[in-house]
Amino acid sequence: MRRAADVVLIAVLLAAAAAALLAGGPALSAREALAALAGNGSPEARTIVLGLRLPRLALGLEVGAALALAGAALQALLSNPLADPFLLGISGGGAAAATAAFAALPASALGLVPATAMAGSALATGLVWWMARGPLGPSSTRMILAGVAVNAAASAVILTILSLAPSPRLPGALAVTMGSLASASAPAVAWLTPYVLIPAFVLLLHGRDLGLLATGEESAAGLGVEVATVRRRVFLAAAALCGGAVAFAGVIGFVGLVVPHLCRMVWGHATRRLLPRTMVAGAALMVLGDLVARRALAPVELPVGVVTAVLGVPFFVALLRRSP
């Protein structure tokens, strides 16, 4: 049954990827897209498929995998099913920094926005970490409370900036808070790749440790986990994943929280088994979500976060009702 679910998951991912490349856009039909993919077709068609859609697909895969994996890892680390990059303020910190950069930087320096977003995520992570330090080391409860506080601060910063920003800058600033894969480009994908691959390696390496941490820190330490080291690494990895995702795609909600739970309902709760599947499912959901965001009202684009929520919630509700 789990093997079959693996096959279905891979099939969904491949189908989503194919659809993202081929689905007719405002400027070209599916057949033209297929021809372009095969190396034929008009130069415009090749530019659309290889220059726009392929990087966008790659960015979607990276961002979806990053957010979902970060969510699953944080849930296990903090032994809390509600933990996700949003609750902990990591995405919020990145978004606040990116919005501030959008409003304040001279237009010629707007290329620095991704770097600022990553710095914001890292800063938010550091703040949460610092606030969560209790007499017995950082505790999960304190960490989540700290996350709520950082989140509130981040929203305050964003709202202040949005209400003060010069109006010509608003579209860009709003795009950061709404989340979109539209600015995907080959350099963006290349930039983001190490921010996904290295943390993903770290998290998969600690998959077994994270499974033990999900039962509590004392319990994990008793089974040989270097709790302090693992906690620090997982938190840094999650910050890199979320900071990278926010930097290149803005704030996309829902994926980090719900994809891990969707996967739990299918593959069970053992973290080591869950992590790689969460990555694939997150990537698939993001690509599907972006496809719908692009195509539903084409050529108008919907915020992709709204679409992933609309796609995921009914599925989530159905699984929740069905599971014992």
């Binding site: 007499p135 077994r208 039962t215 069970g268 053992a270």
Partner: protein
């Protein structure tokens, strides 16, 4: 052979010592019960012995080598640690929880081998939960969850088992099962340290008792050496009757809160 040897052990949280200068030795095949009033530092002592909490002074030697020189994973292979409770935030199945006990034997990447599955199955059978492997732990009773945690520790096939109040939620039958399981482990050569509140249970399991008060050892030794009414009055503030039992240690029956008085000299 000495498995675990603590000398002058002190430690606590955030710089404040809770355990102060405790000596404790566990040899192969021996079972030690740690008793004491609430807040005496029993769980803290167990964490110090397992190396989960670093000692502020003194030394713990595991198999003759100081604990500080051990890698965490190697400690976990030698010591099975059964915490009082764990977080079941996610409804893992019985088999998945017990499987965690094999983690110290597996690297980050190696999947469980048949040998690991066999150890898991044996541990589940040993606590009598066979047939319940796929049940989510959240649907088990409190006592059954304690048995799952015991099985998890057994699955790692440790030489030494440290248990923090393993019997608080167990019914009478399962308490007897616990006595049998720990007795069998000891007779197989493992060492056992258990924190326990129930004196009569401690007397059935352990050949050696350690009584803690405010982080220090107030009494230690065999049941006959330790079981004195003055000790109960001084440490717990209760008057007890020691009802003789043929062929074994007496039953301990608490009668009333003592009106106070006698000072009990600490044993060294």
């Amino acid at each position: 052979m000495t498995l675990l040897d603590a000398r002058g052990l002190s430690g606590g949280y955030g710089g404040a010592d809770i355990i102060r200068g405790v000596d404790l030795t566990v040899t192969e095949g021996r079972c030690v019960a740690v008793l004491g009033p609430n807040g005496a530092g029993k769980s803290t002592l167990l964490r110090l012995l397992a190396g989960i909490l670093p000692a502020s002074s003194g030394v713990v030697e595991l198999c003759g080598r100081p604990l500080a020189g051990w890698r965490r994973r190697d400690i976990a292979r030698a010591i099975g640690f059964v915490p009082q409770t764990v977080s079941f935030a996610f409804p893992l199945t019985v088999a998945e929880v017990v499987q965690q006990g094999r983690a110290p034997h597996l690297g980050p990447w190696r999947p469980p081998a048949p040998r690991d599955h066999a150890a898991v199955a044996a541990a589940i059978a040993r606590v009598g939960l066979d047939g319940r492997e796929t049940t989510p732990v959240e649907r088990l009773s409190g006592g059954e969850r304690q048995l799952v945690l015991l099985a998890r520790a057994l699955a790692s096939e440790p030489r030494l088992l440290l248990l923090d109040e393993p019997a608080t939620a167990l019914d009478v039958r399962h308490q007897l099962d616990l006595v049998a399981i720990l007795g069998r482990l000891a007779s197989d050569g493992a060492g056992v340290v258990l924190v326990v509140h129930d004196w009569n249970l401690a007397l059935r399991i352990a050949g050696r008792l350690v009584v803690l008060q405010e982080g220090r050892v107030r009494a230690a030794g065999s049941p006959t050496e330790v079981l004195r009414p003055e000790l109960f009055r001084a440490v717990f503030g209760v008057d007890v009757d020691l009802v003789p039992r043929p062929g074994g240690a007496p039953f301990v029956v608490a009668r009333q809160r003592s009106s106070g008085g006698d000072e009990f000299p600490p044993t060294s």
